[in-house]
Symmetry: C2
Subunit: 237 residues, 2 copies
C-alpha cells in the first residue's frame, strides 16, 4: 500500500495515484497538487453515488483548487470506481442504497477517509484541510467533518435527513461546527427539498450559508462549482 506510481502532470496540476488497505479492503485514491509550488492547504473530494474518484466534476473542482494553490485528494467509495461491483453504476436509488449498505455504510467510509488523510499527512505533512462533497459526497463528508477535527471547512449539499444514511446525518449534523457552504438543487427529484433544508437547519455551525439553484439533482451550475472553490480558498486562509 502507498503510492502506486501512476503519476501524470499537465496544465499545472500533478496527479499521483495511491492505494490503501483499510479493514482488508483495497481503497484506490488520487492526490492532486499544483505542479509549480508547494501547496499549503488540502481539500478532500468526496464523489457522488454511482460515480467515482475521477468523475468530471471532481476533476473540475481539483483544478479550480489547484489554480489557487490548494492540493486535493479523492478515493473511490465502497462499490464505486475501481471497486465497482455488478450494477453499481445503476442510477436506481434502491440499487444505490444496497451498494451503500453492502459497502459498510457510514462507519466504513469514516475509516477509509481517516486512512486517506492520515496517509497524505504522513507523506506530505499536515495542512489546513477542508471537505468538498455533494450527494453521497455529503453522506460521507458530513460524518467525516463532524468527527475529524482536522476538517476546518466543508462544502456539502444535495442530501437530506431522509437519505440512505439520513439518520446518521441527523445524528452527526449538530457536531459539525466549522463553516459550511451547503448547496441545494431546488427541483431535486431524488432528495426532497425540505429534507435538504432540514439537514442545513440541523448543522451545528454558527457560520453556514445555503445556496439554492433551480434544476434537478445533477444540474448543479458550473458557477457554483467555481464559487465553492472560492469559498474553500477564503475559508482555509
Amino acid at each position: 500500500m502507498g503510492w502506486n506510481g501512476k503519476n501524470t502532470t499537465h496544465a499545472g496540476i500533478e496527479e499521483r495515484g495511491f492505494e490503501l488497505i483499510v479493514a482488508g479492503n483495497a481503497v484506490p485514491g488520487v492526490y492532486w497538487a499544483p505542479s509549480n509550488a508547494p501547496s499549503e492547504r488540502l481539500v478532500l473530494l468526496g464523489h457522488g453515488g454511482t460515480s467515482h474518484k475521477k468523475i468530471e466534476y471532481i476533476v473540475a473542482v481539483a483544478n479550480f483548487l489547484a489554480a489557487k494553490g490548494i492540493a486535493s485528494l479523492a478515493i473511490d467509495a465502497p462499490g464505486h470506481g475501481e471497486r465497482a461491483i455488478e450494477g453499481a453504476a445503476n442510477p436506481d436509488m434502491d440499487a444505490f442504497e444496497q451498494t451503500w449498505r453492502e459497502g459498510g455504510g457510514t462507519e466504513t467510509v469514516l475509516a477509509e477517509w481517516k486512512a486517506a488523510l492520515d496517509f497524505i499527512e504522513d507523506e506530505i505533512g499536515a495542512r489546513p484541510t477542508g471537505w468538498w462533497g455533494l450527494s453521497m459526497g455529503t453522506m460521507m463528508g458530513l460524518p467525516v467533518t463532524a468527527t475529524d477535527e482536522r476538517i476546518r471547512v466543508a462544502v456539502l449539499g444535495l442530501m437530506g435527513t431522509r437519505g440512505p444514511n439520513g439518520k446518521d446525518l441527523e445524528r452527526f449534523a449538530p457536531r459539525v461546527t466549522c463553516p459550511v457552504s451547503f448547496l441545494v438543487q431546488w427541483d431535486d427529484e431524488l432528495i426532497p427539498r425540505q429534507t435538504c433544508l432540514d439537514l442545513f437547519d440541523a448543522l451545528g455551525s454558527k457560520k453556514k450559508t445555503l445556496h439554492a439553484n433551480p434544476g434537478r439533482h445533477q444540474a448543479v451550475p458550473q458557477f457554483e462549482l467555481a464559487a465553492s472553490a472560492d469559498y474553500l480558498d477564503r475559508s482555509l486562509r
Copy 2:
C-alpha cells in the same frame, strides 16, 4: 425639481442630490457615480422599511458598486427619510404597514421609481440597469423589476408572499424574468422563512439563485452585501 445642488465627492465616489415631484409629492433622491470615469452601468437601490435612502447598508452597496465602475441611485420611500411622518421610524410591523398603505402602496412606488429612472436616464443617458433591494426594497423592487423592461437583473430578498404587499408580490413574481439573486435570513423573525421560499419559487426567472444565512431579519452578513455587488457586476456586463 431636478438636481438640488447638494453634491459631495470623497473616496472615489461622487454624490449628487436631486428632488422630483411625482403625483404632487416631493421625492428626494441621491445619485452616486465613480468620480474618476464615466459609469456605463446603473443600479437602483431600494432601502428597507423604517429606513432611508442613505442608510449605512445602502451607502455600503453604493460604494461596492462604484468600486466596480457602476453608478447607483436611491430615493426615499413614502413616509421614510426626508418624507418621514410621525412614527415612521417605529420598527413595529403594524405601524410600518400603516405607513406603507398611507404612502400609496405598490402603485405609488412604481410611479416614483419610474420617475427616478426616467430622470437619471434623461440627465446621464440610458445604461444597462439593475435593482438592489431587500425587505421593503423587495416590496418595491420586485414590482419594478416585473414591469420595467429596463431592469436586467435584480438582487431581492428578506420578503415573502405574506408581507405587507404579499398579494402584489405573488401577482408580479411570475412576470420577473431577468436573473435574480434572492437573500433569505434563516431565522427571520419578521418574515416567515417559508413565505420567503415561496416567493423565490414564484419568480418567473429561469436564472435565479437563493442565498440563505443564519440570523435575524437585519443580520444580513457583510459578505453577502459584497457578493451581491459582485453578482450585479457580473450580470450587467
